[in-house]
């Protein structure tokens, strides 16, 4: 176990190293780093001072070493727009994104597993077909367009929910959260539902497929033959056996939810990392873009690592020896 974790950790470091090289090449080597890293408003003296400060007159490998050194110490430059350390801007907005992502994941799981079970137990009923048709739509409709429709219906036509922002937040252990006030819930409801839609469809399909497969297995037939109530057969025998793939997918999809939050945050003006990165790209605020890229890569590597480890704990059939495939 320890061996496995250490090996995966080393791999993660290698991936991080490769990604940092890619980001470095992207920002420093493609195009003119002076244009990318220095505010367009800067005058000639500013430009020369920054070139010297950033070491852009040094050889490329030397620049990469400096870049790495600064990245490791969390110094990724000041944002042009806010004149604050870029990394701090990102970290300040991370709780909002994580709250949105977790809320979406909870919606997807809480609705998706029962709906998928229903569709799997009664695949030919009207409800079963309706659930599957809905999940196909959930896959096909572009997230941002569904978000617009939600705003159109619930904010513009019905006037029930606010169109944008996070509403008032309450600090829990120094982290601002929305879900503790009614006003916060109103702000959270639409973005979370929008972000959840795709994952909801995915979980419905997975649960349905798993259920249909499990129902054909001997242990379910035997449980029924023993005369166990349907409730127990489904709740214990079926559900327990389909949880492993579902849990894995939930873990893996958490990263993708955080990535897709970029779109949802932009639609609903949710003040998270995703909206910040889009605003920064449009404002050519490069230090923030670089900081975001490195933060998100680290986040993904951590998520993938945790999922791998949790998976191997959940499913003893998974060999811990990394096959390197």
């Amino acid at each position: 176990m320890l061996n496995f974790v250490i090996r995966r950790l080393l791999q993660s470091v290698a991936v991080l190293f490769a990604m940092s090289l890619l980001v470095f090449v992207g920002v420093y080597a493609i195009g003119n780093p002076v244009d990318l890293l220095i505010s367009p408003q800067a005058d000639q003296a500013d430009i020369e001072r920054t070139i010297a400060a950033l070491g852009l007159d040094k050889p490329l490998w030397e620049q990469y070493r400096i870049f790495l050194q600064q990245a490791v110490t969390g110094n990724l430059g000041l944002s042009f727009q806010y004149n604050e350390p870029a990394i701090r801007l990102i970290l300040e907005r991370m709780p909002a994104t994580l709250e949105l992502a977790f809320a979406a994941m909870v919606i997807a799981v809480v609705l998706g597993i029962p709906l998928g079970l229903w569709a799997g137990l009664k695949p030919d009923s009207f409800a079963g077909r309706a659930i599957m048709a809905g999940s196909i739509l959930g896959f096909s409709l572009p997230t941002f367009w569904v978000g617009l429709l939600l705003i159109m219906v619930f904010s513009v036509e019905l006037g029930w929910l606010p169109t944008s922002g996070r509403g008032p937040t309450i600090d829990v252990l120094g982290i601002p959260v929305s879900f503790l006030s009614i006003e916060g819930w109103k702000h959270l409801a639409m973005p979370a539902a929008n972000l959840a839609l795709f994952k909801l469809s995915l979980i419905i399909r997975l649960t349905r497929a798993g259920t249909r497969e499990a129902l054909l297995q001997d242990y379910v037939k035997f449980a029924r033959a023993k005369g166990l109530p349907a409730r127990r057969v489904v709740g214990v025998h079926v559900l327990k056996n389909i949880m492993i793939p579902i849990v894995t997918v939930i873990g893996l999809e958490l990263g993708s939810v955080i990535a897709f939050a970029i779109v949802t945050e932009s639609i609903f003006a949710w003040p998270g990392m995703g909206k910040l990165i889009i605003d920064s790209i449009n404002a050519l605020d490069r230090p923030v873009v670089v900081a975001y890229l490195l933060v998100i890569v680290v986040l993904f590597i951590v998520i993938n690592l945790v999922v791998d480890v949790v998976y191997s704990v959940l499913d003893p059939r998974v060999r811990l020896s990394d096959t390197g495939s």
Binding site: V27, L141, F144, L148, I277
Partner: protein, 300 residues
């Protein structure tokens, strides 16, 4: 998969069988017809559009933000309304379809070519080439497509060519993985051994023997990926980092109408979105059916 099991009394080419099986689903046929119509509308946009939406001389500011079905200053009817510059939304959708479908098709074809080449090389030759290529594929696929595209466009900047490039980078890995998987299976089959035994050159074995047998799964992945590419392009353009404002795709049209949606003028965003959904859903339905038809395990 090269030849379907053919009954002795009624010889039938595999293409005829695929077409017949495909047509057995009315839903898939309808989706194919819908997609054909959308494609036709995109190709013929200059002929069927009531106006050229990007010729400023044809726009009348007095006609701006008219609801669907209104009559304009010159007596013409705007069936889907107009946008903030008095542009006919229907015409803008036809022209937007061109960009959306064009970007989707070009990026898919390019990604297909690169991915298939990489997958064949990895599957046929194996060894260090395979290890390196598949490492890159694994690494890339561990990040969501939208994130990879966003990173690229953040570094490259906006533009149609750059958007296509980003979509190609995002997509090639799917094809490479699919082809490599199939090629690994096919490599061990007897007809490949026979081809090698005949002493055919590697290029002929790969392109004439291996490639045709790797195609069915690739075709299925490609239909799904075209839809995904179109949706991703729309999303990137909606975020303002995809195609430029001078060549608006459906996604950019939706973005431009978003501000007016909040004041109840829904049509500027809603109808381009509807067109986008029609494109994506029809392609997905066709792809779904193709997967069933081309899957040898489901063949009767």
């Amino acid at each position: 998969m090269s030849a379907a099991p053919v009954p002795a009394d009624a010889p039938e080419s595999p293409y005829a069988r695929i077409a017949r099986d495909f047509a057995a689903s009315p839903l898939a046929l309808g989706a194919l017809a819908a997609f054909a119509l959308l494609l036709l509308a995109a190709v013929c946009a200059p002929l069927i559009s009531p106006q050229n939406p990007y010729d400023l001389a044809q726009l009348d500011v007095l006609d701006s933000r008219l609801p669907p079905g209104s009559t304009g200053a010159d007596g013409q009817t705007y069936w889907l309304g107009t946008d903030e510059q008095g542009r006919d939304v229907l015409s803008a959708i036809f022209y937007g379809l061109r960009i959306s479908l064009g970007v989707g098709a070009i990026s898919t074809l390019a990604a297909l070519a690169i991915g298939v080449a990489a997958g064949l090389a990895a599957g046929y030759f194996g060894g260090r080439v395979e290890a390196l290529l598949m490492r890159v594929v694994d690494l890339q696929l561990s990040f969501p497509a939208i994130l990879v595209a966003l990173i690229l466009l953040a570094l490259l900047g906006q533009g149609i060519g750059k958007t296509i490039a980003a979509l190609v980078v995002v997509q090639w890995a799917y094809y490479a993985r699919t082809v490599r998987g199939t090629a690994l299976v096919e490599r061990g089959k007897e007809y490949m051994e026979a081809a090698r035994g005949l002493g055919l050159p590697a290029s002929r074995i790969v392109f004439r023997h291996l490639l045709p047998n790797c195609l069915p799964p690739v075709i299925v992945v490609a239909t799904v990926q075209v839809a995904a590419a179109i949706a991703l392009e729309a999303t990137l353009s909606y975020l303002g980092i995809g195609v430029p404002i001078t060549e608006p795709s459906l996604g950019l049209l939706i973005k431009n109408g978003f501000d007016y949606m909040l004041s109840g003028k829904y049509w500027i965003s809603f109808f381009p979105g509807l067109a986008l959904v029609l494109v994506i859903v029809s392609i997905n339905l066709v792809g779904d059916r193709l997967r069933d038809v081309l899957n040898p395990r489901l063949q009767r």
